[in-house]
Symmetry: C2
Subunit: 256 residues, 2 copies
């Protein structure tokens, strides 16, 4: 409840930088940034349901901050497509249809495909070639064990993320990586949102093996400079997260 005219506390502004975990890369103590990620997580985790209206004060209290960073976060999340303005006033969590999910995946496909094509056309540096091949090598060794543990799968996820980042960030223009980053913020569209069903580890392993094989083919095409093939392979690779079709079993409620 909003208590009129009540001050939150004797002010105590801006955290006194009690950073236990000093991030060597970038110390992002920005409250507004924290608010963005926290809110994003809340939405992903379903704390806020699609269609639900978000009130600034309420969210501010939940996150323990003032309204200012929340308002900034709302703007950012609107840009990202997680929130949406309704009529005159207020933001609601955007509803995501099955078609939206498919679209997000296809968008990632064409964008990463574009990145791969550009990369193949411009030629790989020796260093990049090395990194990509090491990526595939490591993934291969990991994935072809007789039985994968939960931890193995997570490690493969890291390798997967590295693989995609290598291609996207070396396509020669931030325009592409930006577009992909933005698209990845949409629910389910991200390449690292391959959900792991721990009840069917064998099936999951098979899926990852397919993905791994695709990585291998993409690198092959990239190294050979076969740009069209690289683009098509990368584009197809995007669909692996969807898990529809007979190969992996059709999940319920995914009538496309």
């Amino acid at each position: 409840m909003y208590l009129k005219g009540l001050r939150k506390a004797p002010i105590e502004p801006r955290m006194p930088s009690t950073n236990d975990s000093l991030d060597p890369v970038f110390i992002m103590t920005q409250i507004s940034h924290t608010a963005i990620t926290a809110l994003r997580k809340h939405i992903r985790d379903g704390r806020y349901q699609p269609g639900e209206k978000l009130r600034e004060v309420q969210v501010a209290e939940l996150l323990g901050v003032s309204r200012t960073p929340v308002r900034l976060a709302f703007r950012t999340l609107e840009q990202e497509g997680l929130l949406e303005r309704t009529g005159k006033q207020g933001y609601v969590v955007r509803e995501v249809s099955a078609d939206d999910v498919l679209c997000g995946v296809e968008i990632r496909g064409v964008l990463e495909g574009l990145a791969a094509r550009r990369l193949a056309e411009r030629g790989l540096s020796a260093e990049l070639k090395d990194q990509l091949e090491r990526c595939v090598q490591e993934g291969d060794e990991l994935i072809n064990q007789p039985q994968l543990s939960q931890e193995d799968i997570e490690r493969w996820g890291d390798i997967n993320a590295r693989f995609h980042a290598l291609i996207v960030n070396n396509a020669g223009s931030r325009a592409i990586s930006d577009a992909i980053t933005r698209n990845n913020h949409l629910p389910f569209a991200s390449s690292d949102s391959i959900t792991i069903d721990t009840d069917h580890l064998a099936q999951e392993q098979r899926k990852l093996q397919v993905a791994q094989l695709q990585h291998q083919l993409v690198v092959q095409a990239l190294v050979m400079g076969e740009s069209t093939r690289a683009e098509m392979l990368m584009r197809e690779h995007a669909y692996i997260g969807l898990r529809y079709g007979p190969l992996f079993g059709v999940p319920e409620g995914m009538a496309l």
Copy 2:
């Protein structure tokens, strides 16, 4: 100059809604929204050079608003890729390389191509088919006159925008139109930023005739349900704005 502790005026908050031009669609009197468009325009027009640092107070004074809407605008424009954070403090206008421009165009190409493919696969409604064909019809009549006036070219620009909007907005998911909208905010990447060189109207007319022909072919493919062809045509169509190659003469400084 920023005068410390001086109030801007006897407050006088929020415009008293003196709307001369009542927009029937949506009355967007939001100052922050105005700030975004104004700032975007300033950047496009070169009022702020690439690499130039933007100070909140200075921009606020230029636009005649307080810092709050400017800060919101900075966030939005950062998301759009027009601004960029530098190190710890401050936003600068993002530098755009020739490669970035090309990338923006290619991104639009793959996204609009994707939209066209989806449209062709799902089939056009009778109404949409009609609208597209009328669009092509009007464009044809306009563009095939013996000599185009400046005004004619502008009218064709409107038709062009309508054509692209029809395809993008009917692809079945806002995810696509959102991605394209965001990409269009990048300088030169927008489909309606086909620059008109008034000194060479004949040459311009020829370019628009090519674009018009491409529109025609796209609609043909869409109506016939030839999804791959529609995608490819739409993708190629994106390059028309670049004007490189012998057909339209190679502009200087466009070493790709």
